[in-house]
Amino acid sequence: MKKRQFTLTALCLSLAGFAMSASAQKKYDPGASDTEIKIGQTMPYSGPASAYGTIGKVQAAYFKQLNEQGGVNGRKINFISLDDGYSPPKTVEMVRRLVEQEEVLLMMGTLGTPSNTAIHKYMNTKKVPHMFLATGASKWNDPKNFPWTIGFNPNYNSEGKLYGQHILATKPNAKIAVLVQNDDYGKDYFNGFKEGLGAKAASMIVATASYEVTDPTIDSQIVTLKGSGADTFFNITTPKFAAQAIRKVDEVGWKPTHYLNQVSASVGSVLKPAGLDKAVGLISMLYVKEGSDTRWDNDPTMKDFKALIKKYAPEVSPDDGNATYGYAVAQTMVQVLKQAGDNLTRENIMKQAASIKDFQVPMVLPGVLASTSSDDFALFQTIQMVKFDGKNWVDFGKPVTVK
């Protein structure tokens, strides 16, 4: 009797002890420790895409403030963001430095389709989380072949498809003109758009014009597009050129149904310089809250955001769409880190990133929830179409599910 009791007790105690040690076990990969989590990033702080550098600046400010408030699960975030000048070879060099020399735990929000394409294979070979890429190219959602890469932006292809389908549904006899930036991002949107129009794409699109990022103006392209007699216009441009296009379309007296890609939908950095009155009627898509939108004036996250940049990044304008975007990404990252708890291995980070369940990122529009699963890494499944009324983007129809 005694012997059995003894054995049983011993068994129970050892089992309990084992369970306790397992749950109290902290697991770290390079870049994580009891006190610190190292996050790496490359951003174009110089060169043609330097306007996007605001994203990195806001994120750095966010983490700085977070550290002052205690960090995540008691660990401070060491955020190392390097300039790659939007040049893929430089991105490769900087990423190798971050992964091999700085030994970061993960990369967050690297910006640019060509830059990320250059390091796509490397990150997956090295098995380092390549997270929340600041680009909407569709190729980042491929968990089977690239399990370490997870995008953030709703992908360009889906957004383009959405506009195509919308035109088919609302204006089936439309004559469409398209202005497209001649690079990967532009192509992605255009292909999605054509997919959305389906078989009628060839007959409905009456004019296409492209431009290079190095072009000074796109005035000639707008003249060509207007001359085609189109009554619908899909504007696939980055902020500077979007502003030019909006202005020129108004100047030449052309009044098409004007679809603008989300990339340039910021009121503060695009519509205001172009002229708010010229942007009335613009149709686009939103998923992040706009700093200039008065309906968020009392929103706690927006108030925090404005206070943050006022204190830590005063040169950034709260109306800049890049700023709220960067904030949203940082918030999502923190959520993943919180979910990971003390198990800060790279594998677990990816596991947590792939199991986000209906998370409302505070800086993202209410109702647009983030969800991922192990075979679908697309964060945002629903997109809200919006129309500009001269002051704010107003919801236009119900949120649409995109795949």
Binding site: P48, Q101, P114, H120, N182, D183, K187
Partner: protein, 329 residues
């Protein structure tokens, strides 16, 4: 043009070269893979700068568009590896041949232009090449705006003389070998008939023509050879980075090459190496000095270099060497 004495007029300090090579061979085993990668990139820039030097320094022409030849070499290599499944080492001589021809063909009409006009023509080449690379009818070859992703070659052996080899180290040795070969070719060219003809054309074009030197031919040849060197550099860099895209070859790259050449030392082979080191590492250093405006620091350093070392780093070292050596009677 400044009256630099070409460096080949001094005797080669063989002992330094041998020691340097031995050091270069030992280097990858003492530094991290990331640094090995960086040094390999420096070597490719050095090859490109030798090419640029032949054109600008020795032949007295100008090019603001050599980034275009980097692109042609890189894409040649990438296309052959990706579409034709060729092993990487064969693509190097092919890229060299392609660029030699393209450079020569470009040089033929371009040589009618001088000074600013030639600068514009080369500038135009650099600006238009990315457009060509993105052109939709060439997309089947060039990958269009997406570029081409290449498989990074693996080392053929696990160890070499008992020391561990990996992809980075192997590619470093490969690059080093190609660099040595290219420098030797450059050296022989400059010392030989071609080099002397180029210098004659540069300094006294009318006299040279009167002496029977076929000026147009040599000028175009200079372009072709210079493009060849740069093309080899481009091909190597494509293999090292394992990715080519139109965005990798902006106008700023061409300008950076020219800047590197002047800072390193015009008409100087070692100058190519110094210039390459400058191009690779100074932007990183500038970034560490000032995160807010790193390129301003870079610009200031450029200007200071021009004030203090008008003949480039190589020129400065040469001056120091002359001061230290006792004067000959």
């Amino acid at each position: 043009m400044s009256s630099n004495l070409p460096s080949h007029e001094k005797t080669i300090p063989w002992i330094w070269l041998v020691l340097g090579l031995l050091g270069a061979c030992a280097l990858p085993f003492f530094i991290t893979n990331y640094h090995v990668f960086q040094v390999s990139m420096v070597l490719t820039y050095a090859i490109a700068l030798v090419g640029l030097n032949i054109l600008i320094g020795y032949s007295g022409q100008i090019s603001l568009g050599h980034g275009a030849f980097l692109a042609i070499g890189a894409y040649t290599s990438a296309i052959l590896m990706d579409k034709a499944d060729m092993p990487y080492w064969i693509t190097i001589p092919i890229a060299a041949a392609v660029c030699l021809v393209v450079g020569f063909l470009f040089g033929l009409p371009a040589l009618r232009l001088e000074g600013h006009y030639l600068a514009l023509a080369t500038f135009a080449l650099a600006v238009s090449l990315p457009q060509l690379l993105k052109f939709k009818h060439l997309e089947f070859l060039t990958g269009g705006v997406q570029g081409i992703v290449i498989m990074k070659p693996e080392a053929p052996w696990e160890t070499l003389f008992g020391l561990k080899l990996n992809s980075d180290r192997w590619l470093y040795f490969f690059t080093l070998a190609v660099t040595v070969v290219m420098f030797m070719i450059g050296w022989n060219l400059i010392r030989g008939r071609v080099g002397r003809a180029l210098i004659a054309i540069r300094d006294q074009p009318i006299a040279a023509a009167s002496m029977g030197i076929n000026t147009p031919l040599y000028k175009s040849l200079a372009f072709g050879v210079s493009a060849m060197f740069t093309g080899v550099a481009g091909a190597l860099s494509a293999i090292l980075v394992a990715f080519v895209a139109p965005d990798s070859f902006t106008v700023f790259l061409s300008i950076t090459l020219m800047v590197g050449m002047v800072v390193g030392g015009v008409t100087s082979l070692p100058g190519a190496l110094y210039g390459a080191l400058f191009i690779q590492f100074i932007p990183n250093i500038a970034d560490q000095i000032s995160k807010a405006a790193p390129w301003a620091i870079y610009g200031v350093m450029l200007i200071l270099f021009m004030y203090t070392m008008p003949t480039g780093i190589a020129g400065l070292l040469r001056l120091i060497g002359q001061k230290l050596r006792p004067t000959h009677p």
